[in-house]
């Protein structure tokens, strides 16, 4: 139990995907202009990351490892993730229009996100078991959502702030992201070992 709690804390705060591992920066910069879109993106990412962690674990454990094909992990994971996301999108579109409107365009966007592939590959590297894999993916996504929402809230305030001319636009955004990253590095001392 303690191990699972540690995985969650570690992925959400200490090894945050965006601010410490620098994965998934593209949606972090691109979709964080408004709080609502950031929330939608966070929700969709949580959904996809958890699902893809589970599926890639199953693929790795029951297809690649027995056949000794570990070197095909990257391509097999990309394939599985893309299929799972596409399939879920179709099912959600058919069964739950409300959920589809909330996740909507973000689902296909995330398929090609590096954070999703990273979760699958890092799971294998850390030799996680099934539940740990799912938790690792879920924790990474929660960390991603947390940072997205914080950053979007910051950006909404920066828009109305009096920023010096030369720092306006992308410059102040990048500086903000850097400062946030510095702040998150402070969590490194939270869990020892």
């Amino acid at each position: 139990m303690k191990e699972y709690a540690l995985i969650l804390i570690s992925t959400i705060l200490v090894n945050n995907y965006v601010l410490v591992k620098f994965l998934g920066l593209c949606p972090f910069m691109g979709v964080s202009r408004k709080l609502e879109t950031a929330m939608g993106m966070g929700l969709a990412t949580t959904f996809v990351l958890t699902l893809s962690s589970i599926c890639s674990y199953l693929t790795d454990h029951y297809l690649l490892m027995p056949l000794g094909l570990e070197y095909l992990r990257t391509i097999a994971f990309i394939l599985v993730i893309a299929v799972v996301v596409q399939f879920t999108e179709m099912v959600v579109h058919k069964t739950s229009p409300v959920l589809y409107q909330a996740l909507g365009i973000y689902l296909p966007l995330i398929t090609t996100n590096c954070a999703v592939l990273a979760a699958a590959l890092l799971n294998v590297q850390a030799r996680h078991d099934f539940i740990a894999s799912a938790l690792y993916g879920f924790g990474a996504a929660v960390g991603f959502s947390l940072v997205m929402i914080l950053f979007a809230a910051l950006r909404e305030r920066i828009v109305v702030a009096d920023v010096p001319v030369h720092f306006r636009g992308p410059a102040i955004t990048l500086i903000t992201a850097g400062l946030m990253s510095l702040a998150f590095m402070g969590f490194a001392g939270l869990v020892r070992g």
Partner: protein, 190 residues
């Protein structure tokens, strides 16, 4: 090597079958009335109706948010066709959206084009070809005559020219039906 190829092939094949099955099994039917309205609109994507294109306008009509007389390129004939489809009374075009004009074609004066790509970005149907600092030109077959490329051009080198019927494009004119409006009917009664 063969094991790898077969395993990956099987994985890909199974995924393809799954997705193919899902595409049929979980197919979502669009609103059929939107499709029908969209089919009647002229597809100029000009935005004169106040919506981003023909499809959004069709969706707005279906939802009851827009009236049927906001499409100048479709003209009176378009309004009559829409009224017939939706079982409403035809009415004259709303002058706020513009007036009906003969079909025009955008032509770029290639001598003066500076290759700024602004018209390419404005074109809703991707009918302008060209690259930065290279001369642009209009694909006549694709141009819908929406005039959206005129305002962004910094050197005013785009002109609208009426489409002259050639041997390959000539066709019989549509039968013209007089649209009776309420005010016209009232005048006639007086």
């Amino acid at each position: 090597m063969f094991v790898a190829a077969i395993a990956l092939g099987l994985l890909a094949g199974a995924s393809g079958l799954l997705l193919g099955f899902a595409a049929v099994r979980f197919k979502v039917e669009g609103d059929p009335i939107v499709e029908k309205i969209d089919a009647l609109l002229p597809q100029t994507q000009c935005g004169q109706c106040g919506f981003a294109g023909c499809r959004p306008y069709a969706e707005a009509i279906a939802a009851g948010e827009a009236d049927i007389n906001q499409c100048p390129p479709g003209g009176e004939n378009g309004v009559v066709a829409l009224a017939e489809l939706l079982g409403r009374d035809p009415k004259p075009l709303n002058p706020e959206n513009g007036t009906e004009k003969p079909k025009m074609l955008a032509v770029i004066d290639e001598q003066n084009c500076i290759g700024c790509t602004l018209c390419i970005q404005a074109c809703p149907v991707d009918a302008i070809l060209g690259a930065a600092k290279h001369m642009h030109t209009v694909i006549a077959k694709e141009c819908t005559g929406c005039e959206l490329c005129l305002p962004p051009c910094p050197v005013d080198c785009i002109q609208m020219q009426p489409v002259t019927p050639s041997i390959s494009t000539w066709k019989w004119t549509y039968p013209v039906a007089e649209v009776k409006t309420q005010s016209a009917a009232a005048e006639a009664a007086v």
